[in-house]
């Protein structure tokens, strides 16, 4: 069940949803191409790991409960869309406020290191 605390999706739901490799893989797939069917997502997951259609559907339910995925119907098809608004909120709450200069510096350092490495 979705729980709310003062008008917000519980942050725990978002962090729990993100704390799983398959669910992050699904989010990445929806970032590349938003609006995908369960079948299409199942194929993407199957390329990386062994999982049943039921398993993928369960992961999608967790992402939906955390409001990271929104389902819209198109005729007979159910398509899954990435909702980046909660990620924005997490970013504002946990990165922007405390550590953005440091994170930015580290990101630049990482990019530089990786460019040199290539």
């Amino acid at each position: 069940m979705v729980t709310y605390c003062r008008g917000v999706i519980d942050e725990d739901l978002i962090f729990k949803a993100l704390a799983d490799g398959t669910r992050r893989l699904i989010l990445d797939a929806l970032h590349t191409q938003s609006g995908q069917s369960l079948g299409a997502l199942e194929e993407i997951v199957a390329d990386r790991t062994e999982m049943s259609r039921f398993g993928v559907a369960k992961h999608l339910k967790v992402l939906e409960a955390a409001d990271l995925v929104i389902v819209q119907r198109h005729g007979r098809q159910k398509l899954h869309y990435l909702n980046s608004v909660p990620i924005r909120a997490i970013y504002d709450r946990w990165i922007d406020k405390y550590t953005e200069p440091q994170v930015r510096a580290l990101t630049v350092l990482k990019q530089k290191a990786e460019t040199h490495h290539d």
């Binding site: 008008g7 970032h31 909702n83 608004v85 990620i87």
Partner: protein, 162 residues
């Protein structure tokens, strides 16, 4: 290549649907969140919509109008559908839909669907990126700032707006 031709953004806001409708359609609110600027909208099918630029946007070389649109459907406070064009790109109009559903607890769900199959540059801008300070926040940031304003009363217009 990321496909941004249809974007869906959802947010829960602790405010009645009527207030959210006001916030989307009146300048009193639109100057206090997101990119700021007055809005002029004739809330009837076929009515014109203009979102005007702020002084900051003008100093960046924009004209008087940031967004032009036509109202496709206005059903206050539940549904607003617009044909929507960004003045800074020469691209065909896109379809912007707000669905506003008030829940029993007083929490209101706002779902915004933006369909831009023929407007790839606009699509990239409205999808948002990490560079909020330079106006890159897009819809996720705009909706977050709307929530902040309505729930805390704290105006939130940075992002190249003020």
């Amino acid at each position: 290549m990321t496909d941004l031709s249809k974007q869906v953004h959802g947010i829960y806001i602790d405010a009645p649907a009527e207030r959210i409708w006001e916030a989307l359609t009146s300048s009193e609110y639109t100057n206090q969140y997101g990119y700021g600027g007055d809005v002029e909208i004739e809330l009837t099918a076929g009515g014109a919509m203009r979102h005007l630029t702020t002084d900051q946007m003008k100093s960046m070389g924009m004209g008087d109008v940031a967004i032009t649109g036509t109202v496709v459907e206005a059903d206050p406070p539940k549904r607003l559908v617009l044909d929507w064009s960004a003045a800074w790109h020469d691209e065909p109009p896109s379809r912007l839909t707000y669905d506003i559903v008030e829940g029993p607890s007083g929490l209101t769900r706002v779902t915004m669907t933006h369909e831009l199959p023929e407007s790839p540059q606009t699509a990239m801008d409205v999808a948002g990126n990490a560079d909020v300070e330079n106006g890159g926040g897009g819809w996720p940031w705009e909706l977050s700032s709307l929530k902040t304003l309505l729930e805390t009363g704290k105006p939130m217009t940075t992002a190249g707006a003020q």
